[in-house]
Amino acid sequence: MKTRIILAPMLLAALALVFAGCGGAPTSAPNAPAAPQPGKPKIALIMKSLANEFFLTMENGARKHQEAHPGDYDLITEGIKDELDVNRQVQLVEQMIGQSVTAIVIAPADSKALVPVCKRAMDAGITVVNIDNKFDDAVLADKQVRIPFVGPDNRKGARACAEYLCKQLQPGDPVAIIEGVPSAYNGIQRKLGFEDALQATGMKIVASQVGDWEISKANQVVSAMITEHPELKAILCANDSMALGAVAALRAAGKAGAIKVIGYDGISAVREMIAKGDILATIEQHADQLAVFGIEYALEMIKTKQPPADRETPVDLITAENAK
């Protein structure tokens, strides 16, 4: 019995050591706002999953911006557990209304479900700016609200990436698309962008499958796909994690290099592979700047009280020439 009692703290201590040893201090500790000064706007940045590299980069960018402009505003950042946790995000907006922040900059987990609560925030006099994932126009019209969208045009980005790929293919070449989660707006836009470019250049889409944004699912799907369609010339992936999974599948089948792969997001692992030539291209959406654009726009709106209008942020093509 005695041994069992001392075993507990020992195991816990050991686990703590492992985590500590595995380094990398957590950069995403919840950010408590500094004591607010009267008259200084308090801006809440509400994101999707902070477990996703993209949103983590976004948060860090916003933090840096706030540190550079400490006199302009106070920043609260919040995220949800995973990208499907819509309820939690609604609660977060409600909490921010309760704390009477000046503005909310939000990357909605769902382009429809978050509209009503954002309307409540606006009714409470809070400025709301929509970033990353655009609110559904029909729902906005139905609720009679106008929320400005500041963010990239995913369809345009995907089309640019696919156009670069198509220049290296022959018209009529068979290609395949790996989609994101089927219900995600940006995933749908990226697929449409790919299709725009493929149809314009006369490529043949022989397969299109969901890869759930994730490396191992994409790996499994691509493995089966290239067995059934050995004639494939290119695979267009709606994000970079899935592109990594696709490349691994090609390598396992001995087809590395024979089938071209493109991604989307510009994560560091993919930049390395573009430099090496394993992946052809990806799209950089400047995640670190995305939230900053939203915050700057919110500050502008608070100051000038101008009516909201959408603002597009840049998307850049990353190829072997500018990958590193």
Partner: protein, 319 residues
């Protein structure tokens, strides 16, 4: 006599599962152009090793009437630790692998310890570990996919007579685990604990030790699977392995292991994993869309369990 009957039943199990498998292969073969090719079987052999190894651990856990929801997250944590050791710290593979395995073993041991120390349902304990290990994976990698590259590729590319090292390793795990289960005292004790914990205790079996060992094995195997997972993808994604626990449970149950404990076989689990893999590959190859894929996969799992119910009832009435 009893022994003969038991062998007869096992053979019937294999025959049933093999028939299901052959039926599926035939169906997909007729529906697609390239399903019946070496490439398909190489793909499946390449895809399943990590799933097989996780499912072996899950078989043990279900046999003792427990459940381990943490294996997917422990796989992600193992992968994260492996990735960070190799990429950030530049450790050699020979040091990174033991570190990764140790982390998995520790997670499993912690699951086992909490389950026996406070008599908690393993569902809750491993649900907690599922969250904690996933958090650990994000923490260790700073939420970034670690691209590992060629150092780990060697593991996936090494092969003996055309069979890859991961596949051979998975087969070795299956054989060892089945031997441990059906040929040792520890195996008999697992069945006894799963069938009736109280009577197992009364008959002098050290129930707590058995449970602790089983959860530790499950954690260890999840970490072993993570090494194979990383070698296949040459990257460690902290988001990977989500839902693996449910897939493993499905494979084990398709193989006829009872969720109520006391019954199960590692070889049958292997068949379960292969059936799911064939299904997944076949559905992609016929170009089924996501909603259809999910509907069919769900239906196959439930049908397999219903078939098992009737087989089990037939057996009990016969006895």
């Amino acid at each position: 006599m009893l022994k003969q009957m038991r062998y007869g039943r096992t053979l019937a199990d294999y025959a049933g599962l093999t028939a299901v498998l052959l039926g599926m292969i035939l169906f997909f073969g007729l529906q697609t152009e390239h399903f019946l090719s070496m490439a398909t079987f190489r793909t499946i052999a390449n895809q399943i090793p990590d799933a097989v190894i996780i499912a072996v651990g899950m078989t043990y856990v279900l046999i003792i009437a427990g459940i381990d929801l943490s294996v997917g997250s422990v796989l992600a944590l193992g992968a994260a630790v492996l990735g960070v050791c190799l990429v950030k710290w530049g450790w050699p593979l020979a040091m990174a692998i033991p570190m990764c395995l140790a982390v998995g073993l520790l997670c499993g041991a912690l699951n086992g310890f909490m389950t026996i120390r406070w008599q908690l349902p393993s569902f809750i304990v491993t649900l907690g570990m599922m969250e904690a290990a996933r958090g650990g994976a994000y923490l260790v990698t700073n939420s970034k996919t670690q691209y590992i590259g060629s150092s780990i590729e060697r593991v996936a590319e090494a092969n003996v007579a055309g069979l890859s090292l991961p596949f051979l390793l998975a087969m070795l795990v299956v054989v060892l685990a089945q031997t441990l289960l059906s040929g040792t005292v520890f195996g008999r004790h697992m069945f006894a604990v799963g069938a009736n914990e109280e009577s197992a205790r009364l008959s002098g079996i050290r129930v707590r030790s058995v449970k602790f060992a089983v959860f530790a094995i499950s954690g260890f195997l999840a970490a072993l699977a993570s090494i194979i997972h990383c070698s296949r993808l040459t990257a460690a994604d902290p988001n990977s392995g989500a839902g693996y626990e449910l897939q493993a449970i499905a494979a084990v149950v398709i193989g006829g292991t009872s969720l109520m404990g006391g019954r199960g076989s590692v070889i049958n689990t292997f068949f379960g994993v292969v059936i799911i893999a064939v299904l997944e590959n076949g559905l992609v190859q016929i170009g089924a869309q996501e909603p259809i894929k999910r509907l069919v996969t769900g239906a196959v799992i439930v049908i397999a369990v219903i078939v098992d119910y009737y087989r089990h009832r037939l057996e009990t009435t016969r006895n």
